[in-house]
Symmetry: C2
Subunit: 190 residues, 2 copies
Amino acid sequence: MQLLKDMIQAKGRVLGDDILKVDSFLNQQVDTQLMLEIGKEFHHFFGQDEVTKILTVESSGIAPALATAMQFSVPMVFARKHQSVTTSDDNYSATVYSFTKKKDNQIFIDKHFLSTNDKVLIIDDFLANGQAVNGLMEICKQAKADVVGVGVVIEKRFQKGHRYLVNNNVRLKVLASISSLSNEKITFAE
Amino acid sequence: MQLLKDMIQAKGRVLGDDILKVDSFLNQQVDTQLMLEIGKEFHHFFGQDEVTKILTVESSGIAPALATAMQFSVPMVFARKHQSVTTSDDNYSATVYSFTKKKDNQIFIDKHFLSTNDKVLIIDDFLANGQAVNGLMEICKQAKADVVGVGVVIEKRFQKGHRYLVNNNVRLKVLASISSLSNEKITFAE
């Protein structure tokens, strides 16, 4: 997706060998035109799959997931990382290891919002080691919901997530694939 | 906003005298048609104000804020409640007391994403005691950004937020105003 790649080159910042900071258009400040185009791209790819729900995890996944859900005219559901007074006790949950925070987190989805009748498209902003996507797939398995595929805005191809999903026959659509962040240079995969 | 009030009556659940659970269409599962209409309503009200940024706080604010930003064709910025490896050190921050979690939280926004040239519309899913909105206004003050107004999807009129904002001459647009949740009954304000 050329608009996205252009923004990554123009505004992305490399921290170390494996962190790409894109919070000026994706992660904290969110470019609305970009979100619209992201939604259209995922709809173009998965539009024939009778998707009933778009699933993501808070917080950075919500914007691209909502923009995608708008194109499909289906609900967007996001897993929570924290429970509060208003959170249901009746949840599906999975453990997600965060490499940036270096700890295990639980993610939760109220059991009312996923069922065996759902055809789920998982959307996330980043695919690195695949922990978040894996947790969401685990939750779909608990709900006996069908996972149609996974759409990722940016993948770091040199980390484990891509290969893991492909090896498990998950249909994966990536909008920008990065093969290297070495020497503070952003290199896209072909 | 009739569509919203109808959804609240049909799908909202009252917990105790002051908690309204709307996670089947607003807070965890998000209705995309509703988000579209919410964005249009806020644009209808604030559309003449030369808004340059929509500001909210993660996570539940992101969906209505993005839908609104799409109508204005301006960026959406969300304050974070947690810092991570990729978070900047150069932040505006404010303290927000959470009544549901019964503790003080810090919220953060990277200084790059708000400036003295911005005309900010603050959007949030709920207005109760006004803590989150107040924290966002404090951050705008630090950035010397102009707050055009505050748009709230649902307010609990019987709590302190509404009066506080009106007393401080903040332009407030509320899409559904609830005057009471007593006896497990949802009563809208006139």
